[in-house]
């Protein structure tokens, strides 16, 4: 019973849900997928090991508008949480309680965690939590998730025993004679779902909840009767002059009730001080300074990641893999009497391939740390405002900027973040374009080439590649929106949470959540890929241990090499690296390490300096930036757009764009006099 006992964490966006999750659990037990939809499901074990805590996406109501919100409703409909833990923002009590009421009507045992009391008190709002609890008929706990205040009491009551001891919720609002009659008739008509009160189903139907309407449509025999009932009730309300439509009436009843309990349980004092958020916003969202500040923030992020902190750490790690670690494994292999084959496999295949990618871990984690900081501090939401005008000009939405920024870390979470965009076409275009945002894996390729050819201007060269991706994205967004997005109305309403200093615990945890995929990939995909590539380079038509130029890898790369001649990198080595790079873009680096027999970065850099010129190196980097998204990204695009046609389109148009751009760079550069 213990392990199947589940608590669902539900609340509006920006209420400190993640902070609360982190203070209630020690770590994510696992991250999986929801049934039917492909949103990440985060499950953690409570600190007292009493139950699982399931983190649902932030929602304003149970009427889903975006895919993200659909998940929560889907969960309530198809799974059965034992307990609901509803996070409520004390500074926005009235708005938060709309969701609370819908949850209470759902009937599962519910607890309310009242968070953000410090923000509320800063505004002179004080909440009598006992009174609020007694009005709603459920316990209310004042917590400060960021400071771990009030958490022990909440944890104690979240145990199965603690919850079973509480009387079941009996919350019930009276929606007036006409609607109540309709509810009763609906309850009789609608098919029963074991764990869901029929009253909740009826109410959600009357509220025009899409998910429930879709569910009713499965039952062809009852649908007409149910629909008629809906229309009759609505006509009744209109005739009586009560409301224009049913959802409005239901909302009015709830508003009246909420206003009443809020009035009872709030007390006001004078606000403490002019708030910090205002002062920061005066600067960062200033009409003139907004965009320059955003660009400066990005530049600072790259400076730190690539020059100030990331690169020195990467160099240290590289020295370790190429030096001490190689010597150490070499002597270990000698002692156990390993064959020459094993020797070569481990040193030239695995250490060169996997080590070559692992050296970029510091840079990638620093980049993710920055992105988490920007997200958690509240600045990311402002960026959508600052950038919306530009995005609107190309037919997108300021909200698409968040997936793009996350795409700098990795395309996979970037594409998943596109779910918050309400309109399907805008979401599709955003999904197709996220791969052009240069991800951290591609960074390892630039870092390698920039280190060889542009040592003095690394940050600038890398930034220019990022900008190349951004500019192309904007151009293509315009093309796409003109060609297949004409009819759709866009929605741009963004909540701007108050600025908060992100908590280190949350930052580190989300950085790790984002970055661990990279480390895991190094241990699985890249390990396997490196072994395979090494074998292909070790074996040839004439047997094993052939010269590199006679290997299968050389043959494979050689087939493609002529295609790349116009781009200036028509060598079999480049061809082989690009083919294998489809598995994961950092494999381009692994492959080069293996091909050039380079145990460490210094050796590799020397080899590369022979094979490329600065101009072809830049064209190669641009090609790596743009050509086909990696395998993992193609997988997530397929799942998100649910269409092979669009998935294949995303791969092929990228390849065409990459080729054209690299060609343009090479010939443009030659015209400008770069050799």
């Amino acid at each position: 019973m213990l392990n199947s006992w589940s608590t669902a964490l539900v609340g509006n966006p920006n209420t400190g849900k993640t902070s609360l999750f982190n203070s209630l659990t020690r770590s994510y037990a696992y991250v999986g997928n929801w049934t039917g939809v492909t949103v990440e499901k985060k499950v953690g074990m409570l600190r007292n090991h009493a139950a699982q805590l399931i983190d649902l996406p932030g929602i304003y109501s149970l009427q889903p508008m975006s895919r993200d919100e659909g998940v929560a409703v889907h969960y309530l409909l198809h799974d059965q949480p034992n307990v609901i833990l509803n996070v409520v923002d004390a500074s926005q009590l009235e708005r938060n309680l709309f969701l609370t009421i819908q949850l209470l009507e759902y009937g599962a045992p519910t607890l309310i965690a009242l968070n953000m009391n410090d923000v509320a008190e800063g505004r002179g709002i004080y909440i009598k939590s006992e009174l609020l609890g007694s009005r709603l008929g459920v316990p209310v706990y004042k917590v400060n998730a960021r400071r771990d205040q009030g958490i022990p009491a909440l944890l104690d009551d979240l145990t199965p025993d603690g919850m079973l001891a509480k009387p079941p919720s009996t919350f019930r609002l009276d929606y007036g004679e006409c609607v109540e009659a309709a509810i009763q008739r609906l309850e009789a008509l609608l098919p029963a779902i074991a764990h869901i009160p029929s009253r909740w189903l009826a109410l959600q139907y009357l509220e025009n909840n899409n998910t429930i309407h879709e569910w009713v449509q499965q039952y062809a025999e009852i649908e007409p009767a149910v629909e008629r009932l809906y229309e009759e009730t609505e006509q009744h309300l209109q005739a009586a002059g009560t409301a224009l439509h049913l959802p409005q009436h239901i909302r009015t009843v709830r508003t009246a009730y909420i206003k009443q309990i809020v009035a009872e349980s709030l007390s006001h004092t004078a606000p403490a001080k002019p708030n910090l958020t205002d002062r920061i916003d005066n600067i960062v969202t200033n009409r003139w300074l907004g965009i320059p500040i955003f660009i400066a923030v990005m530049y600072f992020m790259f400076k730190v990641t690539f020059e100030w902190i990331g690169s020195p750490l990467s160099d240290l790690l590289d020295g370790f893999f190429g030096g001490a670690f190689t010597d150490w494994t070499s002597s270990l292999l000698d002692t156990v009497g390993a064959s020459a084959f094993t020797h070569a496999l481990i040193q030239e295949g695995i250490i060169a391939g996997v080590g070559g990618v692992l050296v970029f871990v510091p840079q990638i984690f620093i980049l993710f740390l920055f992105i988490s900081f920007v997200e958690d501090s509240g600045y990311m939401a402002r960026v959508t405002i600052v950038m919306d005008r530009l995005m609107e000009a190309v037919g997108l939405n300021g909200k698409a900027f968040i997936p793009f920024v996350i795409g700098f870390g990795c395309s996979v979470p970037g594409i998943m973040a596109a779910r918050t965009i309400e309109q399907p076409r805008e979401r599709l275009v955003t999904t197709l374009l996220v791969p052009f945002m240069s991800c951290s894996a591609r960074l390892s390729v630039y870092a390698l080439f920039a280190g060889v050819f542009f040592e003095q201007h690394q940050a600038f060269v890398v930034l220019s590649l990022y900008l190349l991706g951004i500019v192309l994205t904007l151009i293509l967004a315009k093309v796409f929106s003109l060609s297949f997005m004409k009819e759709e109305q866009t929605v741009f309403v963004v909540e701007l949470p108050p600025y908060r200093m992100p908590q280190w615990r949350t930052l580190f945890r989300s950085t790790w959540e984002k970055g661990k995929g990279f480390v895991r990939k190094a241990g699985t995909f890249i390990l396997g890929g490196s072994v395979l590539i090494w074998l292909l380079s070790y074996a040839g038509p004439d047997g094993f241990g052939v010269a590199m130029n006679e290997s299968y890898l050389a043959k494979l790369g050689g087939v493609l090499a002529p295609l790349f001649v116009p781009l200036g990198f028509g060598t079999w080595q480049a061809g082989a690296a690009l083919v294998t790079g489809f598995m994961a873009k950092e494999i381009v680096v692994s492959t080069m390490n293996i091909i050039y027999h380079a145990p460490d970065a210094a050796m590799l850099e020397a080899q590369i300096a022979h094979a490329f010129t600065p101009l072809t190196a830049y064209a190669f980097c641009a090609f790596v930036l743009l050509y086909v998204p990696c395998l993992a990204t193609v997988g997530i695009i397929r799942r998100e757009v649910a269409s092979w046609k669009w998935t294949l389109f995303s791969m092929s148009y990228a390849l065409v764009v990459a080729y054209l751009v690299a060609l343009l760079i090479r010939f443009g550069g030659m015209l400008l006099g770069f050799a």
Partner: protein
């Protein structure tokens, strides 16, 4: 047909307010249902007092405040919202 006494309020569109000005919403009827749904999610509906905090360059989104909550809305949509300035 006005039942109330002559009020000092004037009807305007939210998009025409200047930064620092505040007004009560009187109609959201001209908005698309998706936008008004989102506004409702934020607790913004008829009768809500909305303050314009900031405008962006070139007709970009407005930064608004209602019930102590900041949010962004495009100028085009703000222009469709009718308000009463008091």
């Amino acid at each position: 047909m006005t039942s109330h006494i002559q009020s000092p309020c004037t009807c305007k569109s939210l998009g025409h307010l200047k930064p620092g000005e505040a007004a009560y919403i009187t109609s959201l009827a001209r908005l698309s249902s998706a936008v008004s749904h989102r506004l409702l999610d934020l607790g913004v509906t008829i009768g809500t007092l909305v303050k314009v905090k900031r405008c962006s360059l070139l007709g970009g989104p407005l930064m608004l405040e209602a019930n102590g909550q900041l949010f962004g809305l495009r100028k085009v949509e703000a222009t469709l919202i009718e308000v009463d300035v008091c």
